[in-house]
Point group: C2
DNA sequence: CACGTATATGCCCATAGGAGTATATAAAGA
DNA sequence: TCTTTATATACTCCTATGGGCATATACGTG
């Protein structure tokens, strides 16, 4: 499990991460909420922990798992060059639609409001 | 290869995508630049194409491959909830460092310039 | 100390998918 | 039409990894 990308490729792990966004959870809570066998949960948590996506704090017999930001930032960093590329696409679409605004005066149900700028 | 996450989990595919950021490329160009066997390139391109990461246009015997934005946006959308979470962390770090700025006047080589605001 | 609860780990199996090689398809050019 | 170039596909092999189950470990409680 070298890269962060392999780690988030697994659907159950993404479910666990999404669950942890709201707040930290114990293994048992994750097990119940995701209806996942406990060993499965523990194994995925291990992968997530070793990749730095989560950390655990001990609470008696429980372990509370919570998110750590770094690997997410790594994904975000990877995405950055492509983000430049796709926002260019959105801009082109924007200009296209703007031209349509001028040439085709809206009559009826389309284009109710002015489109908001895409949040890059 | 269900999800976009599985598609980008493969290192060679990420290499191909990164290469295509600069401009569209033929299969042979990708093959040479990445020093990857041609069937390997074609197979990965197939996966990327079927997942919507790239599209190909025909140029005589060549196929020119270029990026398509949608799957990247899907990854970005998945990242969004976590982004809220980690920027909170950065803010906390920021406040912490700012407190250190006041209490510990820098003498010497560290902290050369004022830190730029993190670009959320 | 014995027992229940919470979590981690080890083992086995099945499968997906990537690598390598050979070959098919298709277009261009002689 | 024959050959060369460019790309796709088919086939085999190998390995990584996820699931299921049993069990180990660890802590709390009576």
């Amino acid at each position: 499990m070298e890269s962060v990308f392999e780690v988030i490729a697994e659907p159950n792990r993404r479910s666990i991460l999404s669950l942890l966004v709201s707040s930290q959870q114990s293994v048992g809570e994750i097990e119940r909420r995701l209806r996942m066998p406990q060993p499965t949960v523990s194994k995925h948590l291990r992968v997530l922990r070793e990749a730095g996506f989560v950390e655990s704090i001990v609470d008696a017999q429980r372990r509370l798992y919570r998110l750590k930001p770094e690997p997410f930032q790594e994904v975000d960093a990877w995405l950055a060059p492509f983000r430049r590329f796709w926002s260019a696409h959105l801009d082109a679409l924007e200009r296209h639609l703007d031209r349509m605004d001028q040439s085709t005066p809206t009559k009826g149900k389309t284009r109710k409001k002015t489109r908001p700028k895409p949040r890059i």
